[in-house]
Symmetry: C2
DNA sequence: ATGCATATTTAAGCTTACTTAAATCATAAA
DNA sequence: TTTATGATTTAAGTAAGCTTAAATATGCAT
């Protein structure tokens, strides 16, 4: 029994999974081909091979669908990806883009053992720095709202302040002087990665936060 | 110009380098084949291919020798390996064997950028947990003696205590009560990895050290 | 110096993951 | 309903990295 999944296989399955999640339809070999930067022919080939390994359901000219074991694999790869992202962000301080690029490679070179160590070291995080949920060992996903730091939040989206995790008095002083309380609506206007500053708006107050503060303010998406 | 080096290539070059360093002679394709667990035929094939890429000097039936760019590649891979070992040991607390297994895979999945980040995070270490020197960015190696922790030291070799890096008073109390001073000769008798204990001998004193203490005592090989 | 055991290489073939080019299918427009 | 346009598949071929089996070279013992 060939149980080893190659990098090409993992990336293909991941692409199908991502497409199923976001678009929900039209997951044809051509779409995946474009996503992976390979020819249609190669994608068709791969689809047939993976169908024979029971990772996807595939019939000529029809849409691709992951089987249960295909989805299991996809979630497993996603877990590796997002744990690496979290680790590289929290430990080495890499930014969102760097974190993604590196995780894209590391996700295929990580044993279950190492992954467990990383998971434990981070305290079994439920969300990665993008705010995307990290599947647990059994592939289960927390469907509650993600809490992410202001430094990692997206620009021009209304968030709600849900945690102030600073340690010193100055930080809390600063917060209460600037309408920064639990429940406040906050909009991130611009990240200045070079200078590690983030520009935000709370009501009519505009603030330029340094990275210590931007890391200490946790927000979640606002329910509308 | 194909400048991408595959995993197979990196491992082959690494094996040649290792053999050149340790045995110094008889680096024939068969030796490398045995090392890598592939057939002689495959090794011969690879030798010819890498010769055409100017990574090894190779003539039929003769010994393999790395070219300058081959050696450069080998040292670069070694650097990735040893930095990962150091990182996994220091940050995640993996033991010698685990560290090696994981680094064997990660070394092929690490960008120069990420490697620099790891290097900086660790404070540009000169030696890995085995005591092996870590080549710097330019491939330069520190040829002074390695300082390793007692917890990582080899069994039944005479070392010399060269640093006591404990932080609390109890530790230094303990040291001075047990002939543990700079310059003392120490022999590691046994590691108990399950219990994180190390049994050592200093003169006629036998000690069972816990991991905190075994990590705080640095030793180097004794010049005879 | 000769022969033989061992090491090394060649030859042929396999799998994975692609490519290009040609053939075929699907479907929306006329 | 027919058609043409674009998507998809098939066919043939390539490169890497292996395998087994056969051929050949090496070098040591005699």
């Amino acid at each position: 029994m060939e149980n080893s999944t190659s990098i090409a296989t993992e990336n293909f399955i991941k692409a199908v999974f991502k497409h199923e999640q976001t678009e929900g339809a039209d997951t044809k070999s051509g779409t995946i081909a474009r996503e992976l930067g390979i020819t249609h022919a190669a994608a068709t080939d791969m689809a047939r091979k993976l169908a024979s390994k029971n990772l996807v359901d595939y019939q000529k000219y029809k849409e691709l669908k992951l089987t249960d074991s295909g989805r299991e694999l996809a979630v497993h790869v996603l877990r590796r990806h997002r744990l690496w992202e979290t680790f590289l962000n929290r430990v080495l301080g890499l930014d969102m883009h760097q974190v993604h690029t590196e995780a894209e490679v590391l996700e295929h070179a990580t044993s279950d053992f190492l992954l467990d160590q990383i998971d434990a070291y981070l305290g079994y995080p439920k969300f990665d720095p993008h705010g995307d949920p990290i599947p647990d060992k059994n592939g289960m996903v927390d469907d509650s709202l993600a809490q992410i730091t202001v430094s990692n939040a997206e620009v021009n989206i209304a968030y709600q302040v849900c945690r102030l995790s600073g340690s010193d008095e100055e930080f809390f002083d600063f917060c209460s002087s600037n309408q920064l309380v639990l429940g406040s609506t906050i909009i991130i206007r611009k990240h200045y990665p070079k200078n590690k500053m983030t520009e935000v708006e709370i009501g009519d107050v505009k603030l330029l936060l340094n990275s210590d503060f931007a890391d200490a303010i946790l927000v979640e998406a606002k329910l509308n």
